[in-house]
Symmetry: C2
């Protein structure tokens, strides 16, 4: 592993999102540095990056742990998603090349749906919405949305019922896409709003069912 630094942060980010660590799990500097074969100092730099991304929580003198979104966090994430994704979509053009990326993600999701591969369905759904935000051609909005998506993945991981979390939303994404191409941005934004409200309700329902704070 010669390329460290930001790349180390990327590696960790990937592992966390893939569920290599449980949400809330404590990440000890010494043991993780040993496991990743880097020095504590280098690992700490990566931690700072991840903390800024909201993927990891850093409490001074108490170390870092994998973030574990609370109910309040989930509500906030969806509020921000509604505002950003909705705002982007309302001003989007159906001719933007990003629409192709949306379609590709959607087809990947529909394909995985047949194979009941919920992990891929989840990833593809995420990619669909990332592509949606890319319609704005705004690096900063894309970055903000990426962070929201990463945090949300942690909430999904904590729930661990991928089917009910991802299956129903493939069709909803198709509705959004078709609304955009056939009926214009305003209608698409309405459908998106419906999607997000429904998705949020499902996550919060699962949270309360598992007695989560």
């Amino acid at each position: 592993m010669s390329d460290h630094g930001t790349t180390l942060a990327d590696t960790l980010r990937e592992q966390i999102i893939q569920g290599a660590f449980a949400p809330g799990e404590r990440l000890s500097e010494a043991s993780l540095a040993d496991r990743l074969d880097v020095s504590r100092n280098t690992l700490r730099e990566a931690f700072r990056v991840l903390a800024q991304h909201g993927l990891v929580e850093h409490v001074p003198h108490r170390g870092v742990s994998v973030a574990s979104p609370t109910t309040a966090d989930v509500i906030d994430i969806y509020r921000a998603r509604r505002l950003i994704e909705g705002g982007v979509l309302r001003e989007a053009s159906s001719l933007h090349p990003g629409v192709t990326a949306m379609r590709a993600a959607l087809e990947r999701a529909e394909d995985a749906l047949g194979r009941a591969d919920w992990t891929v369905v989840g990833s593809a759904n995420m990619a669909f919405h990332a592509a949606l935000v890319s319609l704005a051609d705004s690096p900063r909005l894309t970055r903000a949305h990426d962070q929201l998506a990463a945090e949300l993945r942690l909430a999904f991981l904590a729930i661990d019922d991928p089917e009910s979390l991802h299956r129903p939303f493939v069709a909803k994404n198709r509705t959004v896409l078709e609304a955009l191409t056939d009926e214009g941005p305003a209608r698409a934004a309405e459908e998106l709003e419906r999607y997000l409200v429904d998705s949020e309700r499902r996550v919060l329902g699962a949270y309360s069912r598992m007695g989560r704070r």
Copy 2:
């Protein structure tokens, strides 16, 4: 200086925003660590945080320099601001306590206007818009907006004509606030849009006048 870490990043952030370093200026690890009386490793952690905030640009093996927003950056910042601030305002309630904070910031700006203290006017204008975003009660939107504001300050610093950059906008902020309290969120959002378009045009005009990329 016993409290380092994130606090060191805050210190640096403040210094950068206050213009202690010129936009684009190279920040050498060795000399800056010496100047701040911290070790290189500690300083590097702070750099990672600032880089995530967009205040500093980090190029591998070439070090970090104070960010120096390009024309494209300015355009993107304003696009994101329009979306976020506009979205927040459209769904805001004029009864939200944050409105008081907006009014306070506005009065601070108007006061400084009389004293021709453009630095304070600029800060107060920023605070007005930060308070505006706080109407959404969304930590994540607030954080995203904070980053945009910090980057924008660097653009302002690069321009160095604070009067033309800040003076005209105090009145516009009052218009936004009064529209919100008297005519409702929709009208306020229209005024805000006008504000942002005008402010962006002014920054870009100054940029092109100074032959900036």
